[in-house]
Amino acid sequence: MTRPRRAPRSVLIVATATMIFLTLPLFGLLQRTPWTNLGHLLGDQAILDSLRVSLLISAMAASLVLVLGTPLAWVLGRVRLPLRRLVRSLVLLPMVLPPVVGGTALLFALGRRGLVGQWLERWLGLTLPFTMAGAVVAATFVALPFYVVTVEGALRTTGDEHEQLAATLGAGPLVVLRRVTVPRVLPAMGAGLALAWARALGEFGATITFAGNLPGRTRTLPLATFQALESDPEAAIALSLVLLAVSLAVLIPTRDRWLPTR
């Protein structure tokens, strides 16, 4: 029988303190929750609107992340690019950039007078700032790196030997992609997508800067929570609980794929 590994006491103490630090805010929230009034608060039209807007925007952002991020992850993971380290750093940029800075940058790039935005409006009649489409763009911008990094890592880890073997069996590049590459990195794609979706759902800074805080259009759950905190703290707590429940619903089923357990 394998003997269970015993952790040194000092490590255990620090690990426990860290867990307390991580979960303390959650208990703070639960302790202040108006449980008797919760049903009434959650049924409020403004909260339901924010939930709808959040789910819609995050779902559309996740779809865009999948469509745009998969080819990028494949190129980064499989193609020998001349400036790969620089390209990889640029892809990671939205992850480390303060979201407000990201939103400001989006305004200068895709705003009505922005670098590309002015042409989008002139040629296609497309205006992004302060619209739901703009909120989707902001959420996609901040969420993309989470997906790309996860899938790229999986592609690099799995290597391309199976693809080479599939080619020797007569499978062309598209068949190899569909029948070998994608199935082999599918768990990572799922985990990356869940992370990106959770990031899009929690997005605040880039959204408020680029898409504003318009009820029913761009007021997502985090924006509504921030707004409610000033005027109606109980509603803010209820909104926070909704966000928490949605986040846990995503995190729990994907955790084992993201961090496999023995």
């Binding site: 199976h162 073997l165 020797t168 007569g170 499978a171 068949v175 082999r184």
Partner: protein, 218 residues
């Protein structure tokens, strides 16, 4: 004389290794012939097989499979692996773990359901058809890899140490399949086992430091 299944002469670079087959003594393998490839580790045996499979390209020279030139050292003259009819069984097998045993054997677009069933039967894999490769023993997995390569109906079969660390039964089944000259494709078999060379090989090629030489038949 019939067109050989494989004819190769030229130079290729694989990492630090320079593989060289002189044009005065090209490597020629006839249909149905089994050539054992022997030599020390790191000599270039696996690279030779990868060259034939199209996973490595020639720097100069020419590779012809059943009369069709598939590599002449130029980008334009290089035929990719999917358009060569080879079956490659690498040392590490590379089974597709997301597919069942039957899914692996029938993976090739050229594999018919009849061929797949026949090979599953001949290699005693029918009872394992719905299992995942991770649920197979080493010997079973090796048989799956050989069956998968044969199901692609290759003109040239490339086997990289297929019998290493196999149980007697698996080894016997693979040898039985390879022993039938009338039904096997031209085969290049990397092996370190003198008994395997004696049992199966029509000819022996030795690879040492990237250079090949021909050894007398066993």
């Amino acid at each position: 004389m019939d067109t050989p299944a494989l004819s190769l002469a030229g130079r290729a670079t694989v990492g630090d290794l320079h593989l060289e087959i002189p044009s005065t003594e090209p490597l020629v393998v006839a249909s149905g012939e089994l050539v054992a490839v022997v030599g020390p580790n790191g000599a270039g045996k696996s690279s030779l097989l990868r060259l034939v499979a199209g996973l490595v390209s020639l720097d100069t020279g020419s590779l012809t499979l059943c009369g069709l030139r598939v590599d002449d050292g130029s980008i334009k003259g290089f035929v990719p692996p999917e358009r060569r009819r080879v079956g490659w069984v690498p040392q590490n097998r590379l089974l597709f773990e997301h597919l069942t045993v039957a899914g692996n054997v029938g993976f090739s677009p050229r594999a018919t359901s009849e061929t797949t069933s026949h090979l599953l039967d001949r290699l005693d894999l029918t009872s394992l058809a719905d299992r995942r490769p991770t649920e197979c023993s080493g010997g079973q997995a090796q048989r799956v890899a050989v069956a998968r390569a044969l199901a692609a109906e290759p003109q040239v079969l490339l086997l990289d140490e297929p019998s290493t660390a196999l149980d007697v039964v698996s080894r016997h089944r693979i040898h039985n399949l390879l022993a039938d000259r009338s039904r096997r494709p031209a085969t290049m078999l990397i092996t370190h086992d003198p008994a395997e060379v004696a049992d199966l090989a029509d000819r022996v090629v030795e690879v040492a430091s990237g250079r090949i030489s021909y050894v007398d038949p066993p």
